[in-house]
Each structure stands twice: as structure tokens, then as C-alpha cells.
């Protein structure tokens, strides 16, 4: 087992602490960089989609995992991002300007929603964001002059300074760049005073308030940052899909995002990444599973949502820390090899936190 020996004050807030973490993170980044060399074009595209979901997952993780505000409506920001970027690009704005404007727009809409949501709590917020999503979906569907309505909207080609991102690997590197930037930014945010206030608000609003944190303003900030990142994911998703329709950004997409961060592990950036991998691999795994199951079961139309549901139930009951928690336990097992005990990770007894008293 490796003990971290502190030699400077900065060490406490370093992004990575142990040598093993440096090695693992560099290996993953190198593998992602080298992926276009040995991955098939189809799977490279899927990998790009995975990166988009990593960005969206981090967006939702900041709000739900770190600030503790459950949102059922994050697909709305994905939709706003995708549509406003496509509309701005069609209007002739260059890619970088359009991205900046879109991210700013979704951020502002997020802050406005956060402003009205900062007084709500618990499931009121969850249902309010769900209602927001349904309203946005309807607006996108009905505002035919702007969005093309249910007929769909063709996304303009991805082009920057005269260079066309025509090949799959061009787009892949663009996505990778954005994803790495967002991961690095989120990690940095979490060690800043703002990020620490997020955690304080999540753990106890009352004690955060008594420490002098402006809880409402923190929630608004969290909503804004979260919405902006999700909007960025929407921009990239638009270029991946190449053709937008309002149904893409419905309740199911929102649930997928939420499923991602719950299964990945609430409250960690790694959780969002694990969750995105899980969500991208699941449909593949299910289609493979269908071949092995006997005909009657395998051909059922509802098999996929049912397995989705069952997996969530199993995770929430048996591994509330998600894949990330399982990974940490595995790591701990190897680091302290013969000394791992079952009681190392015994869950603390937890009680119902009442909402009726505030």
C-alpha cells in the first residue's frame, strides 16, 4: 500500500494524488488519442457519442451529484444547445462563435431556471424540471418557423476556418478535445471555493447557510454551469446526429442521463465517465443477449427497457455507490492485498432525512 507523503501545502488540492492515478489517467488519455489508428470507423463514431455522453453526464453530475439538486429535465438543455447551435450555424456564424453563444445561452436559461428553482426542494424540483422539459419539447415541436417542428432540422456541416470535419476521426478528435477540457474544468471547479460550496449545500443546506454560504446563489450558479456544459454536449450531439427532431430530447433521454450518473456513481467525475461507458455498451450487450435467449423471450419488444429498469433496481439496492464505488473497492483490494476485509466498506447506518422540517 502506498502512503502519500506530504511535502507541500498544495498537495492537498492536487487533481491527482497517487502515482497509480497518474499512470492510469495517462494510459487512458493515450489510448483515447491513439484510438483512430486501430478502431473501425463505425466504432470510432460510437466512441465519439460516448464522449458526448461523458460531457452531458458531467453536466448533470455537477447539479445532481455535487449540489444535490435532482433534475429530470436535462435533456431540455441538450435540446436547446443542439437547436440553437444549428440555427446560429445556419445563419452563417462561424463554429467557435456559435459554440460560445450557445453555451452562454443555455447557461443563462439554466440560471433562470435555477433562480426559480432555488426555493424549491426535493421532488418539487424534480417535477418542475420535468415540466420544464415537456414544455421545451413542445415549444421545439410547435415553433416550426425556427426549428422545423416535427419534420426535423438538418444540422449544417461542421466547419471551422475553412476546414471541413468531414472524416469521422476529425470529429472524434474535436469531441475528445472538448471532453478532456470539460473533465479538467470540472475537476478544477471542485477544488475551488465555489465547488466546495456545492458539496456543502448538498450535504446540509442548514449548515452551509450557517457557514455564510449564500445557498440560493450557489444553486443558481450550479444550475448555470450544469446547463452550460450540457448545452455544449448538445452542440456536439447535433453534429453527431446531423438531423434533429424534438423527440430526440424527450423524457427518455433525460432518464438516460440520470441513469448514467446513478449507475456510474453519484458524486464523482469518474462516475459520470463510467456511467457513459455503461449506457453506450448496454444496447450492444442487450442485442448480443437477444441472440442467446430462447426465441420467445429474445424477440420481446419490451426487453430493453425492462433490463434497463432491472439493472437500476439492482444497482440502487446493492451498490448505491455505483460502478465507481465498485472500482474503488477493487482498487483497495489490490493495494492492500492480503488485508482487505469485508468490513472495510461497510455502509454506515443511514436514516430517513425528513424534508418536512426545513
Amino acid at each position: 500500500m502506498q502512503t502519500v507523503f506530504k511535502t507541500s501545502y498544495d498537495q492537498d488540492i492536487n487533481l491527482l494524488t497517487k502515482t497509480g492515478e497518474y499512470i492510469r489517467v495517462s494510459i487512458v488519455i493515450l489510448m483515447m488519442l491513439a484510438a483512430p489508428l486501430f478502431v473501425d470507423v463505425y466504432y470510432l463514431g460510437e466512441l465519439g457519442l460516448l464522449l458526448v455522453y461523458v460531457i452531458a453526464g458531467i453536466g448533470l453530475m455537477i447539479l445532481t451529484g455535487f449540489t444535490g439538486q435532482v433534475s429530470f429535465g436535462h435533456a431540455a438543455f441538450l435540446g436547446i444547445g443542439a437547436y440553437s447551435h444549428s440555427i446560429l450555424m445556419t445563419a452563417g456564424l462561424p463554429f467557435p462563435v456559435s459554440v460560445v453563444l450557445t453555451v452562454a445561452l443555455t447557461g443563462i436559461i439554466g440560471m433562470l431556471l435555477g433562480r426559480s428553482a432555488s426555493k424549491m426542494h426535493g421532488f418539487y424540483l424534480a417535477v418542475a424540471t420535468l415540466a420544464f422539459l415537456i414544455i421545451i419539447e413542445t415549444i421545439i415541436g410547435e415553433w416550426t418557423d425556427m426549428t422545423g417542428g416535427y419534420a426535423g432540422y438538418a444540422v449544417p456541416e461542421l466547419e471551422m476556418f475553412g476546414f471541413y470535419f468531414a472524416e469521422v476521426w476529425h470529429q472524434y478528435y474535436l469531441y475528445l478535445g472538448f471532453a478532456l477540457f470539460v473533465i479538467w474544468g470540472a475537476a478544477n471547479l471542485l477544488r475551488s471555493p465555489t465547488g466546495r460550496s456545492f458539496l456543502a449545500v448538498r450535504d446540509s443546506e442548514l449548515s452551509a447557510r450557517s457557514l455564510g454560504i449564500n445557498v440560493e446563489w450557489i444553486k443558481i450558479q450550479s444550475f448555470g454551469i450544469s446547463a452550460a456544459i450540457t448545452g455544449l454536449a448538445g452542440v456536439l450531439l447535433a453534429h453527431y446526429l446531423a438531423y434533429l427532431s424534438p423527440e430526440t430530447f424527450g423524457v427518455l433521454e433525460s432518464l438516460k442521463l440520470l441513469l448514467m450518473i446513478v449507475v456510474g456513481g453519484l458524486g464523482s467525475i469518474a462516475g459520470a465517465i463510467f456511467g457513459a461507458i455503461f449506457v453506450s455498451l448496454l444496447p450492444v450487450a442487450i442485442s448480443i443477449l437477444r441472440d442467446f435467449l430462447p426465441g420467445v423471450v429474445g424477440e420481446q419488444a419490451g426487453l430493453e427497457p425492462m433490463l434497463f429498469g432491472l439493472i437500476i433496481v439492482i444497482f440502487v439496492i446493492f451498490e448505491p455507490e455505483g460502478i465507481n464505488g465498485r472500482w474503488k473497492k477493487l482498487l483497495h483490494f489490490f493495494e492492500t492485498f492480503p488485508y482487505y476485509r469485508k468490513s472495510s466498506f461497510v455502509r454506515q447506518k443511514s436514516y430517513l432525512k425528513t424534508e418536512r422540517m426545513r
Binding site: A128, V262, A301, G309, V313, L352, K353, R356, M357
Partner: protein, 291 residues
Amino acid sequence: MLPIEDVVRLGFIGVSQGCAYGLIALGFVLIYKATEVVNFAHGEFMMFGGFAVLTFSEGFGLGFWPGLIVACLAMGTAGYLVDSLIMRRIIGQSQASIFILTVAFGFILRSAAGMIWGWSPLSLDTPFDGETTLAGVTLGTDRLAIIATTAVLCTALYMFFGRSRTGIAMQASSQNQLAAYYMGIPVRRLVSLVWAIAAIIATVAGAVMAPVTQLETNVGFIGIKALAGAIVGGFGSIPGTLLGCMLIGVIEPFADYFFPAIKGVSAYIVMLVVLFIRPEGLIVQTYRKKV
């Protein structure tokens, strides 16, 4: 402007729709009051209940009323088991996990229903077909049945919680679980029983809604509108919930008539507007903590 007959007709549809929302919302509120869990799968419970009534009354040839009773018993048992086997284990976890768990339940129930009864709409023969003329206005009997059922169930629940020993014990354990334990109230069993009651109400709702909505797997989404109604009313008190659901139910047909572009969304707009003005709903149920 609308002729007066249309206003009456739309208003009547609104009231019956509001009653239907109220009937579903009752289940949400009961479970929330007992455990502070919002069961997002409640709409799916209703859908499943409707299908269960169909199976028992027509599949097994029991007839509507005996079939309804058997279906209620079956769904009640299922509700009891859901709490005692699953929901009890996750007390104290983060809200996001609990929400997503109940949503996942909904998914499972919906696909299970689709696998068992197929994905196309089925119709259930109820004694409420046809029309009734009341004071010169012709109304659908099925909609009158919804209003009557809501009134009967609310009275029954009011009597149950106000008068019976079990009901009062449930109220006590909802107000203060620890104190209820000290008084020798079997809190765990009562909580599971509340889930059973909610599932039974959902089954009844599914049965009386069947002539209006048909039996199909997506009916459960109506639960979200019922939830919106309950939130407008302030969640947590039964009169408040009914008030909110009525409000949403009555506004909806008129809004759909005058603004067809936002068909189906008016309930959510009303909810957001109410939440902007009064974040806790119309009838406030939370108390500020005093240190």
C-alpha cells in the same frame, strides 16, 4: 365566445378529469406522507391494475365487480411486497437514487404489461357505458362514474384515517416515526400497508379510467399530470391535493380549446406558475426548523 352548453360540457369533462387526477394523486400523497418517497411508478401501478381487472373479469370470466375485487386484492399484495422487499432497504439513500429507482419500477411494469397483454390498446367492458341525461345536459356515464368513485373513495379514506385504530396509527407513524415506535405501533407493517392501500386505489382508478383512456401501456404517463396537480395543491394534505387536481383538470380542456398549439402542456404551465409564486404549493405543509 363559447355557447353556454359547451362551457358546461367542457367544465364537466374538466371536473371528471380533475377527479381522475385526484384519484391517482391520492396514491402519491398517501405513500409520500407515510415514507417521504414519491412513487413515480404510481401511474404504472394504475395501468397494471387496469390490466389486472381485465384479466380477472374477462380472462377468468368472473364478471366486472368480482374481478375488480380480486384484482384489488392481488395488486394490494403486490404493493405490500414492493415496500417490504425493496423500498425498505433503501431508506436513507440520496433522493436521486430513490427517484430513479421508482422510475425504473415504472419501466419494468410497463414492459411487463406489454409482454403479457400486448402493446396495442385493449378495451374493458364496464357497467358504465352509455350516456346519462342530467338536468337537460347529456353526460357520459363513464365520466360520472369517475366523479362518484372519487367521492366514495375520499369519504372512505377520510373515515378510515379519522376513525379506525389502524388509520389513526398510520397518522401517528407518519407524524413521528420514533414516537410511534415507542407507543408500540408496528410502523414497518403499517408503511407496507399504506403501499398496499395506494396500490388498491390505483387499481380502482385504472378500472374506472379504462372506458375513457382505453387500456394501454402508456396510460401511466397520466400519473405525471396527477403529480403536477398534487404539487399545485401543496402535496401532503388530501384536500389540498384534490383542490390542485381539480384546478388542473378544469383548466386543461379550456386551455386545449383556446390554445390548441400547447395541447397537453397546460397542466405543467399551471404548475410552474404556481411554483414560481408559492414554491410550496397552495396549501403549505412544511415547517421551518427551529434551532
